[in-house]
Amino acid sequence: MTDIYLDNNATTKVDPAVVDVMIPYFLEQYGNPSSIHKFADGVARGLKQARQQVQALIGCEHDSEIIFTSCGTESNSTAILSAIKAQPNKKEIITTTVEHPAILSVCEYLEKEGYTIHRMPVDKAGRLNLESYKKLLSDNVAIVSVMWANNETGTIFPVVEMAEMANAAGVMFHTDAVQAVGKIPMMLQDTKIDMLSVSGHKLHAPKGIGVLYLRRGTRFRPLLRGGHQERGRRAGTENSASIVGLGKACELALEFIEYENTKVKAMRDRLEQGITEAIPHCFVTGDIYNRLPNTTDIAFEYIEGESILMLLNKAGIAASSGSACTSGSLEPSHVMRAMDIPYTAAHGTIRFSFSRYNSMAEVDEVLKVMPGIVATLRKLSPYWDGAGPVADPEKAFAPTYA
């Protein structure tokens, strides 16, 4: 059996069709899109087509609302910093406790500069309370930034509704949609979302290319100045090959979006059901009724995630974990802590994220090895005794806290 890749929320394989459309932009049409000669005369057309392909996938009204950036993180930083620069009198930002660091670190930094950051908590299933959200909206808020779907659990936030609420209160709304774009259908022109971030490498385009959707008329201040590219909103010579690749990837994502929500979802469901039936003391985290079709995040109690990943890797299976040890920090994932998942489980969470390249045969292979891996590690765990957890694990094993 060849290796099985179930870490598609981290990054994806570049679709071979995407690579094919990119190659000519390295070897033939390598001219600067701004130049007037035959090495460049096809580039502008390629960029225009890519812009339209992205536009079709996210359903925005104008292709000029698409700004190509270097990655999702740049799009996120641009959105937030633009909102505060354009509205210098507004000193509050609303976000959530479970955002990606690309948002949270920027907010933390702005907090030091004197901004008030409202980080909305989530419940045990990772859901937001819209009543409390409504109360936070005011004239002092420069921007609301809420992710469309969570990268760890796949939980989907009601961003369309939240954008309506922000708009009614006269507040700008941004969503980090890097996990959602290409996995769930969207029609931005029917929403009040002002800005939205896309990352190419999450949808089978290469790394190093992203998009910031900017609704026409939204007040904007560029992050990078220094050229007329992207209509002066993002200076720097266009990454033409990657832009064209991203366009192709968006076209394919649109083509496969139904497949994603039927076939890919069926693989995810089968894996999740198989694991929770075969292995005691494990549970699925997040809002299982409202999440991405490709993601499942399962907490295996009393064992640690990095150890699980190492054994999975040995079996040729790639996944990821919210354990502290995989990141080098001391705390388990902030998303697991926000959902109040106990430490004994939070360190043992494993995320399996699928793509259209996976198959049911791979699901069966994972189901074959997973129970053995968990049993092996539980045998070593001081919280486990024979067939089950030790009685009252927190008390039975109470080490001196180092």
Partner: protein, 301 residues
């Protein structure tokens, strides 16, 4: 993915002495579930000789935590308790052919469990002597709590102070923003304000405004002085540095003791170089003495 050594992988995939020892007469439990690491070490000690006959571990933790536990049990089996008390976390890391800096705390946890188990056997109470924080300096594996404590204890005010006292920030320098954040926090607690240009706490061996270039003799003396001031930090890790020769603005040094062959030796040399340049106000290149031999040979040839 971590760059684990083959030895770490070997002990992780085939752990030795996993599980609790039956009829154990010593138990040590350390770790913190919030940090995702917890270790119970059980020993069977022969009462007359105090020799460790058997050792077993149960670990909730990552690959290197399990490997550290496993290798620890192998190291201590057959030792007397007094011998076992001399086992350091560096011994554990060495047996594993090294650990990534972020994972050194796994070896610390092993040593602590051992000390706790021996204290338990002797009817003493073992107290953990340090709290661990988020890793700040990846070059020298210094965590936030350690830096905070040193800032409090020694009234440190600048990043340079922190580097002088803890080594943190003396390598690649990419953690300086984090160190500044710690300084800002601690100084705010003390009602002071962080000033990046504040004078160093200890007047170091610094000559104010060097006007004329140093003579070679002055330079050598100055370099010796700076090395002397850095020596305590190196010796704390069981290492030392020796000045071999100064040619122009290049200082040739020998890293001795634990510094010799240490993976961090290059970092340490970079740190020494930075410190020399700061103090002397001129460009100084620090090079291992082994490089000098090559140079001399070339000149002779």
């Amino acid at each position: 993915m971590w760059d684990y050594s083959e030895k770490v992988k070997e002990h992780f995939f085939n752990p030795k002495n996993a599980g609790a020892v039956v009829d154990a007469n010593a138990t040590g439990e350390v770790g913190s579930i919030s940090c995702g690491d917890a270790l119970r070490l059980t020993l069977k000690v022969e009462d007359e000789t105090e020799v460790i006959l058997e050792a077993g571990f149960q670990t909730f933790g990552c690959g290197s935590a399990i490997a550290s536990s496993s290798v620890l049990t192998e190291i201590i089996k057959g030792m007397t308790l007094d011998e076992a008390l001399k086992v350091t976390n560096q011994d554990i890391a060495d047996q594993l052919e090294g650990l990534p800096p972020e994972k050194m705390h796994c070896s610390v946890m092993g040593r602590e469990a051992l000390q706790a188990a021996i204290a338990n056997y002797r009817g003493e109470e073992w107290k953990d002597d340090h709290e661990e924080g988020a890793l700040i300096c990846k070059c020298f594996a210094i965590d936030a709590v350690m830096i905070e404590e040193m800032v409090w204890a020694n009234k440190l005010r600048t990043v340079e102070d922190v580097t002088n006292f803890t080594k943190a920030g003396g390598g690649c320098a990419s953690c300086h923003e984090d160190i500044e954040a710690i300084l800002e926090k601690v100084l705010a607690e003390k009602g002071e304000k962080f000033d990046p240009t504040a004078a160093p706490v200890e007047a170091p061996a610094k000559i104010a405004a060097v006007k004329a270039p140093l003579t070679n003799l002055q330079r050598i003396k100055k370099i010796e002085e700076v090395l002397e001031s850095l020596r305590p930090a190196l010796m704390a890790d069981g290492g030392d540095v020796e000045l071999v020769e100064v040619i122009g603005n290049t200082a040739y040094v020998n890293m001795t003791g634990a510094c010799n062959g240490c993976q961090m030796a290059a970092m340490t040399i970079a740190g020494i170089q930075q410190r020399l340049m700061e103090v002397m106000g001129e460009f100084i290149k620090v090079v291992p003495a082994s490089e000098m031999a090559k140079l001399v040979n070339i000149e002779v040839a």
